[in-house]
């Protein structure tokens, strides 16, 4: 059986039929859930390792260094070696910590990021859960992560951790608004909350191009707010190495620390993937004009490549932020959100609604 690399639904359908042939519908559902879960676990772990390696190389490139280049060719096994180190490290629980919450916190953070990734459309048909409220679901699930961070800060019974958690709470609750509002811009454009429909609506051009300047403003705000929401520099106040040593995860060690670490990278991936899906056309290829030679060549590139190419481009931009800018102060961070981003965003939404009402967008 030949599968198209451009449409994964034929591939998933054939698996479904294969399973349906050998077991009852209930078991088919269970085994499909297990399969999808396993695939996502593998994907999550591999992507985490790849992102950590990528960040090290990018920051080394920016900082005139070589970066990891000893373990394996070009140091690609360095992150695996790090992971093994973290797995074997002692899990240290400090004396007066609230043990249950202390242990629970990293899992909440990692589950939140993992649940969100399930809703992303990677390619046509390659989509674990296609909700009709996909955007809403992702917003809701990612907000769970802050609960984990607050719990981590509070339960470790350390003053630095608590400060980090307080900062993180204030930061994420504020920036959630900007993320939501800039997503709303695209919901108004495409008229749907379903991620697959949003991607399909960009078949004749990405929203960042079709939506005139308001869409671009939304994109920039989304990028800033998403960087803030994932606790990455220049908004990494919750960790703020030079002020709070490591912020909310100061007291964590071993694989628990790795969970926070991994969740941060996966949140970054999630932010970049959402920016791609909403503004940069998801897995849609880049098109100029109608039915040109260029478009046909672009169509030839598989959608998965398009999706990951765009996502990693956005990730690169987010990494550039971190390695070039100094950190903001907490009051400046909140000023930026409440005095600048939010009013601009609200005005932008009205403008977009007007644009869509008049049918002025492409």
């Amino acid at each position: 059986m030949a599968f198209s690399i451009y449409d994964f639904s034929s591939f998933t359908q054939s698996i479904h039929q294969l399973l349906s042939g050998v077991m009852s519908p209930a078991w088919v559902l269970v085994s499909e859930l297990v399969l999808v879960g396993l695939v996502f676990l593998m994907f999550y772990a591999l992507l985490g390792l790849a992102l950590v390696y990528l960040e090290r190389r990018v920051c080394a490139f920016i900082q005139n260094r070589l970066g990891p280049n000893r373990v394996g060719p070009q140091g690609i096994f360095q992150t695996i070696a790090d992971l093994i180190k973290l797995l074997f490290k002692e899990i240290f629980i400090i004396k007066n910590a609230d043990k249950f919450l202390f242990n629970l916190a990293p899992f909440i953070v990692i589950i939140a990021s993992m649940m969100a990734i399930g809703a992303l459309p990677f390619a046509k048909g390659l989509h674990a859960m296609d909700f009709n409220i996909g955007v809403f679901y992702i917003l809701a699930v990612t907000s769970l992560g802050v609960v984990g961070i607050l719990l981590a800060g509070w339960s470790s019974n350390s003053k630095y951790s608590l400060l980090g958690a307080m900062r993180s709470g204030a930061q994420i609750i504020s920036y959630e608004l900007s993320v939501g509002l800039s997503m709303l811009a695209i919901i108004i454009f495409s008229g749907s909350m379903q991620l697959s429909v949003i991607v399909e609506s960009q078949a004749n051009g990405w929203w960042i191009f079709k939506g005139h300047i308001p869409a671009f403003i939304s994109f920039v705000i989304f990028l800033i707010a998403a960087t803030a929401e994932t606790n990455r520099g220049p908004f990494d106040l919750a960790e703020a190495e030079s002020e709070l040593t490591a912020g909310f995860h100061t007291e964590y060690s071993g694989i628990r620390f790795a969970f926070f670490f991994l969740a941060e990278y996966m949140n970054m991936f999630l932010a970049a993937a959402l920016a791609t899906t909403l503004f940069l056309g998801g897995w849609m290829p880049l098109h100029f004009g109608v039915d040109t030679q260029f478009n046909h060549i672009m169509d030839f590139v598989p959608p998965v490549v398009w999706f990951f190419g765009k996502t990693f481009f956005v990730i690169y931009i987010i990494m550039l932020f971190k390695w070039t800018f100094p950190r903001l102060r907490i009051d400046q961070l909140l000023t930026l959100e409440w005095k600048y981003l939010l009013p601009i965003n609200l005005f932008n939404i009205v403008l977009i609604a007007f644009l869509v009402m008049m049918g002025w967008h492409f």
Partner: protein, 373 residues
């Protein structure tokens, strides 16, 4: 009615945290006891002494040549001026006039050291503010200076090169060409510092109007060096009391009047350009001659009290010695710049955020072994 006592740490539901002795932004084993109201710093109590080695006491059992090696360990980032201070003191006491060659080389080494020290400060200051890339840019350029040092006297940090009577040994034949290569290199690279940090909106927001030190404060707390000059306190010993070859070189004493973190930053950045200017003037004028005056193996200072001050990268270093005519000094006292500069931090940081405290302590450019001695 009893006068209300000053807020004691831990009372009035204050949130007290210990910053240090192991903390990434105290640059060593310095400990701040902070009393916080939320994020706002209410009181800072600096605790020093974690790296106290009793250098002043050790000096009482060492000859003057041996003391040179102890001074390296005080402010390890400006070892040359530290050595020079003791050497000048001994020379002044004995009435020795060192050769011109020695004077010029000493001045050049001090300025090279100042450049390296300011570069490391810039690197670490950026990191305090969360701009991690600055660290590698600063160290990249400092490496070139350390290479020059290494070639001439084999050490990169604790040089012990300037000694009573002159220099330990002659400079490497490559010294002149290396410095000549360094000057255009730094002229090209220093603007990168401004591009990366100075013009950045976040950086200016973080540093302007933060930790304002008035000129009166600077004088009454004895703040010297770039930190004092950022408040308009003209305290450059190189200008006020020229030693070595500083009387014949043309350089500006950088003065800023704002007194905030950004002014202190700006003073150091501009001082780097002045140091390059000094190097440029001296590099072709190293006269031939001896690198040292013949000294006795054991120096005995005539009975009396002596004082000598020099300008290190962080401020004024004063050396006070009491001699009873023995080979060891009866009492040796170092007035180190960092010790005086540290204690204004409570005044500067009150009412600011924790993040500002880190910026302020970074802008004071503290080297902890110099505080504790």
């Amino acid at each position: 009615m009893v006068e209300k006592a000053e807020v004691i740490l831990g009372e009035n539901e204050q949130y007290v945290i210990n910053m240090g002795p192991q903390h990434p932004s105290t640059h060593g084993v310095l400990r701040f006891e902070l009393s916080l109201k939320g994020e706002i710093v209410d009181k800072v109590v600096p605790h020093c002494g974690y790296i106290h080695r009793g250098i002043e006491k050790m000096c009482e059992a060492n000859t003057y040549q041996q003391i040179i090696h102890l001074t390296d360990r005080m402010d390890y980032l400006s070892a040359h001026p530290n050595n020079e201070a003791v050497s000048l003191l001994v020379e002044k006491a004995l009435g020795i006039e060192v050769p011109e060659r020695v004077k010029v080389i000493r001045t050049m080494l001090s300025e090279l050291g100042r450049l390296g020290s300011h570069q490391l400060w810039w690197a670490a200051f950026g990191m305090d503010l969360g701009a991690l890339t600055t660290f590698f840019y600063g160290l990249r350029d400092r490496e070139k200076i350390l290479d020059i040092f290494e070639e001439s006297f084999g050490s990169r940090l604790l040089h012990s090169y300037i000694c009573p009577g002159g220099l330990m040994n002659d400079i490497h034949p490559n010294f002149k060409t290396r410095v000549k290569e360094l000057i255009p290199y730094l002229r090209k690279k220093l603007p990168e510092y401004d591009q990366l940090l100075t013009g950045n909106v976040i950086f200016t927001e973080r540093s302007k109007n933060i930790g304002i030190m008035t000129k009166e404060d600077a004088i009454s707390y004895g703040i010297t060096g770039p930190s004092g000059r950022g408040s308009g306190f003209a305290c450059d010993v190189r200008k006020a009391e020229p030693y070595s070859a500083y009387d014949r070189v043309d350089f500006k004493e950088i003065l800023m009047t704002e007194g905030d973190t950004f002014a202190r930053y700006q003073v150091r950045i501009l001082e780097m350009y002045e140091s390059i200017k000094i190097l440029e003037q001296l590099v072709d004028q190293i006269p031939d001659g001896d690198y040292t005056v013949k000294m006795k193996p054991i120096i005995k200072l005539p009975e009396g009290e002596y004082y000598q001050r020099v300008e290190t990268a962080r401020g004024e270093l004063g050396v006070y010695a009491v001699s009873t005519g023995e080979k060891f000094p009866d009492r040796m006292r170092f007035r180190t710049p960092n010790f005086s500069n540290l204690f204004i931090i409570d005044k500067l940081a009150r009412g600011h955020k924790i993040a500002d405290l880190v910026a302020i302590s970074g802008s004071l450019d503290l080297v902890i072994p110099d505080i504790d001695r």
